[in-house]
């Protein structure tokens, strides 16, 4: 794992992608910092940071796009996959290298609250927590990006795919407000999810009986719940899907100074899920 990690990290800075990412993020945040904190005298660095999310949307796909797609195109994955190293370790090595690159600007950000402090009142606790969450959000985005990169041979598609997904997640609140909140729509949503899961099982196992049973059981269960207690379905879509507005956990801190611990758990579990999915995606390709 260490070998992969070291190679990836070195390659990020040799290929300039890492440098560009770090420089871009710091320069952008620096401009915000100057405008909000220094010129306007607003004492929260966290607010400045919330403006930098947009750099993540553009910059993180840049870091993740080549992680697996390039290996696959250049056939260097043959070296990794035939070496006596577990696939999980290879994926983790690469992921940790990305995380390290994302950590570098965040470590530098830690200086900014001190500058504010030197000028007068500062709120270091909120600021540092928000830097921590900002970093964690970056890690979530990187996990998503790595997964997309493992699905394709093309770096461009990996970039655009990741960027698109991150952008949709960023605009999620606005999209969500258009969803209906009635109990029937909630039921429809559940049925769609059950069908998607059944379809996925069918694709993975080629077992029509199994997926049929899952579909039938899901539909019956959903209908029973609907007839027994339809109020459960009210606002279900907005509540469930609302969790996907990942940046909310971070913006809660930056705009309201509210730290949502379950949000941190959500971040960590999303990272775990996408790292796992990346391993699975690569495994599956070897078998198809």
């Amino acid at each position: 794992m260490l070998a992969v990690y070291k190679r990836e990290l070195r390659s990020y800075f040799q290929s300039m992608v890492g440098c560009v990412f770090v420089a871009f993020l710091i320069a952008f945040t620096g401009i915000y910092f100057m405008a909000y904190n220094l010129l306007s005298g607003y004492p929260y660095f966290s607010y400045t940071l919330s403006g930098s999310i947009i750099v993540f949307l553009v910059g993180i796909p840049l870091l993740t796009m080549r992680s697996f797609s390039e290996e696959r195109r250049n056939r260097t994955d043959q070296l990794l996959l035939t070496a006596p190293v577990g696939l999980e370790k290879i994926v983790m090595g690469k992921y940790l290298a990305m995380v390290t690159v994302i950590a570098i600007p965040n470590v530098i950000f830690c200086v900014f609250p001190l500058i504010i402090k030197a000028q007068g009142t500062a709120y270091p606790l909120v600021d540092y927590i928000s830097i921590g969450l900002f970093f964690l959000l970056g890690c979530v985005y990187a996990a998503v990006g790595m997964f997309i990169s493992a699905l394709t041979e093309s770096q461009i598609i990996a970039y655009i795919g990741t960027f698109g997904i991150l952008l949709v997640l960023y605009l999620w609140d606005g999209i969500l407000s258009m969803l209906p909140s009635s109990d029937v729509s909630g039921l429809m949503g559940v049925l769609i999810v059950v069908t998607v899961i059944a379809f996925y099982i069918w694709r993975m196992t080629d077992n029509a009986v199994l997926s049929g049973v899952v579909e039938a059981a899901g539909v019956i269960a959903a209908l029973i719940v609907y007839f027994v207690k339809s109020s459960l379905y009210e606002n279900l879509l907005t509540n469930l899907l609302g969790r996907l507005a990942l940046a909310d956990v971070f913006t809660d801190v930056t705009s309201n100074s509210i730290v949502d611990l379950s949000g941190v758990a959500l971040y960590l579990s999303i990272i775990a899920v996408f790292v796992f999915l990346t391993v699975q995606a690569i495994q599956k390709r070897r078998w198809s």
Binding site: A3, S11, N74, R75, D77, T82, V85
Partner: protein
């Protein structure tokens, strides 16, 4: 050492590897021979754990590649068809990375990388970026990577593709020297290479193993009743006249060449060797015999026969019966041979190093 049992690989409806069974014993050089697209690379990719098989199992040094992948992979060094090189690294960096990946202990790593660099002669380019190296050097870096860690088995997929003749000779020498300590498996679609380098040949066609034996035995399979070729200073009519009463001859074809020389081919009856009688017959008539030699079936014939025919067993028996056959059959084989890309340069090199091979090639093709 390696056991491959009932290996099947399907890509959608396409059967790339079709129930392959073989065993690799230690200390030999094995050659996978087959036309392009026969399933050689796929088989190697499955053996090294890069691809999963649809059915069947691969056991390496007692470890199943699926159940204990890390232990099994530790026994193998692999050079894929396209060397897996990182263009943004220098040769030294790359080899050190590969050494670390193969879990060579830190204190041995630098020494071993240097040793391997010397072995494949890339020490003078170790500080250069791989991106800037020529194809031949890249191939050698890939080979160095496969040797690192000195695994028991070294698997090389088309190791000499894209190299110039001198490099090909060097790489073959290297492969032979590797075989002293390692088991080497290489794949190739070039006969001369396999015949020259390998101790044992597995011929694969359309995903099936169609023959496996030593090169000599494979040639013998087809060469039981052979053809004798001769050149003489006599007219074709005289040749027929001289040979009319020589026993053991099935058929004669003779053709006048320039300078009054006639080139003739004599089909022997099964189990006969007519050379002695032929030379005496010419001597009796005081006609000078310029050359006289057996043109047995070569590996090329075996290869063509096994990989081109739709129904292998039938074709094979037919060939045995006809034993090099009539002129028409011969013509057909020539056409088939011409249709296959044999990489002439490579053959020339191979044959330069093997005078006998040269003669045989000339005889059969």
């Amino acid at each position: 050492m390696i056991e491959v049992k009932n290996l099947v690989k399907k890509y959608g409806n396409h059967l790339a590897v079709d129930h392959l069974d073989f065993t690799i014993e230690p200390g030999r050089i094995y050659g996978f021979l087959g036309p392009n697209g026969a399933g050689k690379s796929t088989t190697m990719n499955i053996m090294t754990g890069y691809l999963g098989a649809t059915e069947g199992e691969v056991v390496i040094g007692g470890h199943d590649i699926l159940k204990e992948p890390e232990k099994a992979k530790r026994c193998i060094g692999y050079l894929p068809e396209q060397p897996p090189l990182y263009m943004d690294m220098t040769v030294r960096e790359y080899l050190e990375f590969a050494a670390e990946l193969k879990e060579i202990p830190r204190r041995k790593r630098a020494d071993q990388v240097t040793e391997v660099e010397k072995m494949v002669r890339i020490r003078d380019v170790e500080k250069r970026l791989i991106r800037n190296l020529s194809k031949g050097y890249r191939q050698r870096v890939g080979l160095a990577q496969a040797i690192l860690g000195y695994p028991e088995i070294i698997i090389l997929d088309e190791p000499s593709v894209g190299l110039d003749p001198k490099q090909i000779i060097e790489i073959r020498q290297l492969i032979r020297s590797l075989a002293k300590k390692h088991t080497v498996i290489l794949s190739s679609h070039i006969l001369a290479e396999v015949r020259e380098v390998c101790d044992y040949i597995l011929i694969i066609s359309k995903g099936k193993l169609v023959a496996s034996d030593t090169p000599e035995n494979l040639e013998r399979m087809l060469g039981e009743s052979g053809t004798v070729e001769l050149e003489t200073k006599a007219s074709p009519a005289e040749v027929r006249e001289i040979l009319k009463n020589v026993p053991g001859i099935e058929e004669i074809t003779a053709k006048a060449e320039e300078n009054g020389i006639t080139r003739a081919q004599i089909m022997e009856k099964k189990g006969e060797d007519v050379r002695e009688r032929v030379s005496l017959a010419f001597a009796d008539r005081r006609k000078p015999l310029l050359t006289l030699r057996t043109a047995g079936a070569t590996l090329e014939d075996v290869f063509m026969e096994l990989t081109q025919s739709e129904q292998l067993p039938d074709a094979f028996t037919r060939h045995m019966e006809q034993a090099a056959g009539t002129e028409a059959d011969r013509k057909k084989r020539e056409d088939q041979a011409a249709a296959v890309d044999m990489e002439n340069i490579d053959r020339a090199v191979g044959d330069d190093r093997n005078g006998e091979g040269d003669e045989q090639d000339a005889g059969s093709l």
